[in-house]
């Protein structure tokens, strides 16, 4: 498998605090890779650095060999790396379907002026967006709530909508920020299946940051473990579970915390 995303010696300092220290790893095409670590390990910061929502202090991020660190977030999205958010980040006063349609922005071939003048190209774009949005709605099983206002949805649906918005951009790599947070067991298992299908059926490479150990062990091809801003381990779920450094990092939570 070829390397799709490469993180090379990335560091982030906030004043005197080093949140992320010299981290390197790569994500192969079609892989599901999880970044885990105790609270304050620097996972979220690393995530923002990769999606270029924060500038790096040092190091670079490459997508297909092209440097993407320190570009504007919308440029990174244009190149095919799209993030979702931890919290319910959606367009609140739009319906589910409108949310997904508007997120097709990157697929537009017509210019904004073209859309204003309602040219033939713009009209065919709009039709394509609507069709693709309906596909995504079906894929994620959101049919029953397609015309609901997003602000009225419960947590589980919001998370799915967040993912739908990400999918609408047709990403090469999707960064999921804690996709299982605040979910019960059934919801988590449902989401695990969805992420799997995302990769299997839509060919999306997934990089996720997560707390939920059983889910991470189940879903990941490989895992990267952070502690105090440094990478302490990298490997398959089985390797990670038996890694003494990892067990030590989670000390106090005992072996059970990472065991299945």
């Amino acid at each position: 498998m070829s390397i799709l995303l490469e993180i090379k010696g990335v560091s982030k300092r906030f004043g005197g605090l080093t949140a992320v220290n010299n981290i390197s790893f790569h994500v192969s095409e079609g892989e599901i890779l999880s970044v885990i670590g105790p609270n304050g390990a620097g996972k979220s910061t690393l995530f923002k650095l990769i999606a270029s929502f924060l500038p790096t202090s040092q190091g670079e991020v490459f997508l297909r060999g092209e440097r993407i660190s320190n570009l504007a977030p919308h440029t990174v999205a244009r190149k095919g790396l799209v993030r979702t958010f931890q919290e319910a980040t959606i367009f609140r006063s739009m319906t589910v379907r409108e949310n997904i349609i508007v997120a097709h922005h990157l697929r537009s071939r017509a210019s904004l002026l073209g859309f204003f003048l309602d040219t033939r190209l713009a009209a065919s774009d709009e039709a394509a967006f609507a069709e693709s949005a309906d596909n995504i709605i079906e894929f994620l099983g959101l049919g029953a709530i397609r015309d609901e206002l997003a602000s009225t949805l419960p947590q589980g649906h919001l998370r799915a909508l967040g993912m739908a918005i990400g999918l609408a951009t047709h990403p090469t790599v999707l960064l999921l920020d804690e996709p299982f947070a605040g979910m019960n067991h059934d919801e988590t298992m449902h989401m695990v299946t969805l992420v799997r299908r995302l990769r299997d059926e839509r060919g999306v490479t997934v990089l996720l940051v997560e707390h939920d150990m059983p889910a991470v062990m189940k879903i990941s091809d490989r895992i990267v473990v952070l502690n105090f801003g440094e990478k302490i381990a990298e490997g398959t779920p089985a390797q990670i579970q038996s890694n003494p450094k990892v067990i030590e990092a989670y000390l106090g939570a005992e072996d059970a915390a990472i065991g299945l």
Partner: protein
């Protein structure tokens, strides 16, 4: 069905402003109303611009600055270069749009109250510039600006010379109303095209918008420059009627009023700023007889209205029926 009702209400509206209002004024002989309605039409264009900046999630209390700049651009071109007013109109708008790109690039990074505060200063800056710059002739202003001359293209007279008309008041009314209709048609089209959807995405969540690939900085500047274009042509139109311009022609109070017009009419409705301007302008005039209590009653009414109808007067329609 929805399209039909849209065409129907547009038709009724056009008939109203182009036929019914002039007829009503002619029969009642209240010719002073022409000036009032012309003013309302022009002010509502500036308010439409403010409304568009609300639509990307920014509170704009600086539209008066662009109206003043637009007014001066038009006045200077007409008096210094003898250019026809009709050409100065788009030039004034374009000048303001360009200016707003330069001003907007740094200040549109600010959000919420910080952006509002900076825009509040803009009108004052524009006024002081008008006082200080050599070209604007300071506090004396520019006076006795000629009425709009004829607009001819290839020798065909599209618009006659206003000074040759028996009733220039009516001509100004038609000019202002036409400008207003065009401005609101453009605004309506923006809101209902992808541009408007992206503006809404910006208003609701800028981070998410940039994560789906929207160039948020560029889109903000684009919306703001369209907004300022509206401000500029409204100012230019106003100056043609009053035939004079002073640094005090548009002040901070006007900027605040443009914003209030949007609140009053409703931020969720394209026609909101138009209705808001009409209500505010006439409301103020109606209270004239109350003398020194005018401002007190006026402000109290505004506060009550905003408590009762926080989404604007047009939200009444949503409450009663199923129309949107």
């Amino acid at each position: 069905m929805q399209k039909n009702s849209l065409i129907f209400s547009t038709g009724v509206f056009l008939l109203g402003v182009y036929v019914a209002v002039p007829l009503a004024i002619a029969t009642s002989e209240r010719f002073d109303l022409y000036y009032t309605l012309t003013a309302v039409a022009l002010l509502s264009i500036a308010s439409a611009g403010v409304w568009l900046t609300f639509y990307i999630g920014r509170i704009n209390i600086g539209q008066g600055a662009y109206s003043l700049v637009g007014g001066y651009v038009s006045a200077l071109l007409v008096t210094q270069t003898n250019m026809s007013f009709w050409w100065t109109l788009p030039i004034a708008g374009a000048f303001c749009a360009l200016l707003s790109v330069l001003i907007g690039l740094p200040i549109l990074r600010l959000r919420g109250v910080y952006f509002a505060m900076v825009t509040l200063v803009l009108t004052e800056v524009a006024r002081l510039c008008a006082l200080a710059l050599p070209i604007t002739s300071g506090a004396k202003g520019i006076t006795s600006i000629p009425l709009p001359s004829a607009l001819k293209i290839f020798g065909i007279t599209l618009i006659p010379d206003f000074s040759s008309l028996a009733n220039p008041k009516l001509a100004f009314y038609f000019m202002a109303v036409t400008m207003m209709v065009v401005a609101y048609a453009v605004l309506w089209r923006i809101v209902h095209s992808r541009l408007g959807h992206l503006c809404r995405s910006l208003q609701q969540n800028e981070e998410l918008a940039s994560s789906i690939g929207v160039n948020t900085a560029w889109l903000r500047v684009l919306a703001y420059s369209i907004s300022s274009f509206f401000g500029g042509i409204a100012g230019a139109g106003f100056i043609a009627i009053s035939q004079s311009i002073y640094p005090s022609s548009f002040q901070s109070t006007d900027s605040v009023n443009f914003m209030l017009n949007c609140f009053l009419g409703g931020l969720g409705y394209v026609m909101g700023p138009m209705l808001g301007t009409l209500l505010l302008y006439f409301g103020w005039d109606l209270l004239f007889s109350t003398g020194r209590f005018q401002l007190l009653i006026y402000s109290t009414l505004m506060i009550l209205l905003m408590l009762w109808l926080p989404n604007g007067v047009l939200s009444l329609m949503d409450r009663k029926g199923d129309r949107k």
